[in-house]
């Protein structure tokens, strides 16, 4: 496996590999996400208790679980970069942070728009909501640290340490609904084996979830490429790539 993985440790190979998969991933993401959204909005049945407000579920839950999943991925990348001095891991961690922050924000906002009609309040300082808000601040802190230093290696180290300390928040978010009394309802999807959801609701959820996963991969690939270029700006291959890009732009302009 290491032999197979080895070429991808080269920034140039990774850069071109990410560039090649972006078009495929974007087409799949657009397709699956549109199916998921239309299904969720128009064809999925209304909940017998929550009525049509339940349709918020189809973006709230994927966004919330992705906000935690991306953080976990970022923590793995930060760990690899701190322990094995693997430079590309830093670039990928820096690429993931803004994506995760966006999904955390979406989870919080849609959650609050769901909470207003169901609980009668936009916001409450309960365990699930507060720990998710802390996750947003962790993401913002990581992003700020990545941008705070001119030296990207130093920035990666500082942001990596914050990322690893923040991992403690993930189990707190996950189990907050079980450990504390909270307004937030328990998990519906991730009960292994028998999700407490009807099939007509599970399918559109799956489409939305995997559509979001694909979209996340597309955006991370785009940002990963920028991070690689910024970190390798003095390498000859980046130089030739940039000048080729400029001449192409000039001919397009003419």
């Amino acid at each position: 496996m290491w032999k197979w993985l080895h070429p991808y440790a080269n920034p140039e190979v990774s850069y071109h590999f990410a560039g090649r998969i972006i078009p495929w991933l974007s087409v799949c993401a657009a397709l699956i996400l549109s199916i998921g959204f239309i299904w969720a909005l128009a064809f999925a049945p209304a909940d017998y208790q929550q009525g049509d407000s339940f349709r918020i579920f189809y973006i709230h839950v994927p966004a919330a679980s992705l906000s935690m999943g991306i953080y976990f991925g970022m923590a793995v990348a930060a760990f690899t970069s701190l322990v094995w001095q693997f430079k590309l891991a830093d670039a990928s961690a820096a690429a993931m942070a803004p994506v995760g922050a966006t999904f955390t924000a979406i989870a919080l906002i849609t959650g609050s728009a769901w909470g207003k009609p169901m609980w009668g309040t936009w916001w409450i300082w309960d365990a699930r909501l507060t720990s998710e808000l802390i996750l947003l601040f962790l993401y913002l802190g990581v992003m700020a640290l990545h941008n705070a230093f001119e030296d990207k290696n130093l920035a990666g180290k500082a942001a990596g340490i914050l990322t690893l300390v923040g991992v403690i928040n993930l189990p707190i978010i996950k189990y907050s609904v079980e450990w504390w009394n909270t307004l937030h309802q328990g998990s519906t999807v991730s009960k292994l084996g028998k999700p407490s959801m009807s099939i007509e609701m599970l399918w559109p959820f799956m489409f939305c979830f995997f559509g979001f996963v694909l979209l996340v991969s597309v955006i991370i690939c785009i940002r990963f490429r920028s991070e690689i270029l910024a970190r390798n700006s003095i390498r000859p291959w980046v130089r030739t790539l940039v000048s080729a890009h400029l001449t192409k732009e000039k001919t397009n302009a003419v």
């Binding site: 999925a44 349709r55 994506v99 849609t110 785009i222 270029l229 700006s233 940039v242 000048s243």
Partner: protein, 82 residues
Amino acid sequence: MQFDSFSAFIDMGGYGFYVWLSYGVAVILLLMLIISSITGHKHVIKNIAQRKQREDKLRQVRKQRQKQDKDLKSDKHQEAVE
């Protein structure tokens, strides 16, 4: 289809505002993220190109100056010989 008419679809059984607010915010935030990622990539390329141009120019100036210095020295040398 769960709805009888388009207005029922918009109304969402009375929850229209909250449902459309959620979907709207999600779509807008994601679009913003996608656009900022793409423009960010172009920005990085432009920055590197600018730095490269600046360095190339500096290198040229340095070369020219070295050449001038050499010419000047050889001129002086010739004067001395004469």
